[in-house]
Structure formats: C-alpha cells, structure tokens
Amino acid sequence: MVKYSEQELSRTFAALSDPTRRGILRQLADGSTTVSELAGPYSMSLPAVSKHLRVLEEAGLVSRDKQGREYHCRLLAGPLREAMEWIAFYRGFWNARIDSLEDFLASEEVEHDGKGGKQ
C-alpha cells in the first residue's frame, strides 16, 4: 500500500471539507461522468464546478482526460482509501478508549465496595 504523507492526507481532508466537492465525488463513485453532467444537480456555473474539480484534482482525488470536446472525470481511489483508513482508525481508537473507561469505572466500584466492606 502506498503511504501518503501527512501533508497529502491533510490536502485530501481539505478537499473533502466542502459539501459540494463531496457531492461531486459521490457522483463520480457512481460512474465516471463529464463536467457538464457533474454540474447538472448544482445551481452553479460550469467554471464554478471546474474550480471545485481543480481542487479535487490537486488533491489527487480526481483525474480529468479530454475526450473530444469534453473533459471526462474519474475518481482516484488512493487518497480516499487513506481518508477511510483515518475514519476506521479513529472509530477503533475511540471505541477502545471507551472500553477501557468502562473497565476503569467498574474497577472503581469494586475498590469502593472493598473499602466499604472494611469500614
């Protein structure tokens, strides 16, 4: 697996921080499309959509090829996989922390009961 640098991962997340860009990626995940198709659901000009696509392209999330008169866009999986890894990492991390918190609170109770017994 290719290891992306922290800077690249931050750039991926910066690109993902915008809801319109996430919408565009979702459309791309459902099949490659042209810029005009991508612009369809948005009340946005083609240049505005192109600006978002440029950010996605710079983050390595999208590739654009010119075919005839139109650009065709494709989703690139690498950076997204890193972002998903980030999500999976923290989901596991936080659940493990809460497991540990539960053990601690239970042990506190035992300790407390123990002390209570001696008094």
């Binding site: 993902l16 980030w86 989901r91 659940n95 609170l105």
Partner: protein, 320 residues
C-alpha cells in the same frame, strides 16, 4: 468499504456514541480528573508515555500512548477549547503517530448526558478543513481573512420548550469590509442573491418580512419566509426561520409555527483594522426523531453560504 466511503463523503468525521452503565458525574470525573484519566486512558493493551491535562478553557493537554508489543506510538495534544461542566468539552486535536504528524487540525467534541441505562457519551472527531480551505481560496486575494470557524453548539444554554435543550449553528467569518459596507450584503435583495438564494425579497425593518427561494447543491429547491424581528443597522439583524414546511395533515398552521420556529441572529463587529467579523447564530433546533438530518442540512447549508458570503465580499473588486 463502501460504507466507509459513504461516511467520508457525508462528512470527514468520526462519530462514536456509547452508553455506559455509570452515573454521569463519575463518567465526567474520569475524563476531567487528570489522575483518574491517566489510569484508564492507556487501557489494558497500551502504556502511557506521559499524560498531562490542564483542564480549563485554553488549558493544554498531551496524551501519549505506546503499544509495547510493537513499539507503535500515538500522541494526541491540543487545548481545551470549551468546557461546560457535566455536559461537554471540546478539544483541538493534533496527533503524532509513530513520530509523524497524523492529519493535523482536528477537533474532538465529547458530550455527556444521562439516559435511563446510565450515561451516553458522544464523541465527534472531525477534521477542520475550513482553515485549510481558507488558505487555499484566499491565495489570490491576500485578504484579511483569518479564519472561518464552525461550531456545532450542543450545549443546553437555551432551554426552550419545557427545558428541552435545543441546539444551534454558530458560524463566524471575517470579511475585509466595514460594517456599513457589509450591511447591504445582508439586507439588500440584489446582494443577498449573490451569495445565498437565487431569489430574495427582504424588508429590513423590524416587523418586515423576507422570502428566499434557492436551490441547494444537491438539487433540492427551498422556499423560506418569515418576519424580521429586530434590526439595528449595521450591527444586528434577527429573523425568524421555519426550517420545515407546514404540513396541514400534521395540524394547524399556528401550531406548526410555534413548534417549528427557529431564530437566525446576524451580528457584525468591526475589528478596528478595516475588517469586520460576521457571526451567524441559528438557534432553536430541537432534538428528536428525524430532526438530526434537518439540523445537519442547515449546518452544511449555512457553512456553504457563509463561505460564499466571504468569497463575494472578499473578491468585491471582481464584481464591481
């Protein structure tokens, strides 16, 4: 994998909600008493490489962990951005994994509430892309924009409807205009339509009405109208906002108006350096079944539109 893709495309954030069978006070103390915290944070599999916590607003924390069997390390550090006793605390969160930074600029919000089985702990770990985005977009502008901060306020400061806590959207943006220059952007229809609805009518007087019609990025059309409830040009604008449509099948229009009403508060404050800070507070969203998506939709919508507002006001030379 597809599920994780959907998550990341919904929002680059991790949300974990767990209910533990212990009373809120003990759960809260386990998080906020540094001695107790140090006892449980590493858990059975990890060891501490140093845990410090200065538990007050603005105080710093540094929580280091190491997995003995393979030597992997994880260090989280940052500040307590907000603390509401027995309710929530918010951390700015930078992390170093195996000696390398691991996606800097996250925020972790922990909220606690009593439920019948014990205490519900809600952890929201989100990446703050806006600061990054700001840098990206402001490259060509060299404007005075410092940051666009977004807070989802889960506190119960506003106890509305028989003490049911409500929630609010709080957004702040700095624009390179004086308050007087900014004011038309909030109150004149031909300006508002440059950053928010495609169609707007607005009578910027206390007791006046407004009506907005717009199409969201996802293609849905929205029409919202209501009263302007307070105006103090060029500092303050309050408007009522009905986030849902009246459905006659659900009851009378009067009942709906009372139940659905939320408030949008605009505040403008000059920084004294040729710019002003615009705050949007959209308050009064109730908790309840089916209401989360509405709240989320409004949060995302306002983020998008307030970002637009910043862009159109920062790039005003281009427009005129």
């Amino acid at each position: 994998m597809r599920k994780d893709l959907d998550v990341v495309l919904a929002k680059p954030a991790v949300e974990v909600v767990r209910v533990v069978r212990f009373p809120l006070e003990r759960v809260w103390n386990a998080w906020t008493d540094p001695q107790k915290f140090a006892k449980w944070w590493p858990g059975p599999d990890l060891e501490s490489t140093g845990i410090t916590a200065d538990v007050r607003i603005g105080g710093e924390f540094s929580w280091g962990l190491r997995r003995p069997e393979n030597g992997n390390t994880y260090l989280a550090h940052g500040r307590y951005e907000d603390i509401v006793e027995h309710e929530r605390f918010v951390l700015s969160w930078d992390s170093i994994r195996n000696g390398e930074e691991y996606v800097s600029g996250a925020r972790v919000s922990l909220s606690f509430r009593t439920v019948s089985e014990g205490t519900e702990i809600r952890i929201l770990h989100e990446f703050l892309g806006e600061a990054e985005m700001c840098r990206h977009y402001s490259e060509g502008w060299a404007s005075a924009i410092e940051k666009l901060a977004v807070y989802l306020d889960l506190n119960g400061n506003l106890q509305e409807n028989l003490g049911e806590p409500s929630r609010a959207i709080l957004l702040q943006v700095e624009v390179p205009l004086s308050a007087a220059e900014l004011w038309p952007w909030l109150t004149k229809a031909d300006r508002i339509t440059q950053w928010f609805p495609q169609q707007a009518e607005l009578d910027a007087r206390s007791g006046g009405n407004y009506s907005f019609r717009w199409i969201r990025a996802n293609g849905s059309t929205h029409i919202r109208s209501g009263a302007i409830t307070a105006v103090e040009a060029p500092m303050l604008l309050d408007m009522e906002w009905f986030p849902t449509d009246w459905d006659p099948a659900q009851g009378s229009e009067q009942d709906w108006r009372e139940a659905a009403r939320t408030m949008v508060h605009w505040r403008i404050r000059e920084t004294g350096q040729g710019s002003c800070v615009v705050s949007l507070e959209h308050r009064g969203f109730q908790y309840g079944e089916g209401l989360d998506s509405m709240f989320k939709g409004h949060s995302e919508g306002w983020q998008e539109y307030v970002t637009n507002l910043r862009e159109v006001t920062s790039g005003r030379e281009d427009i005129r």
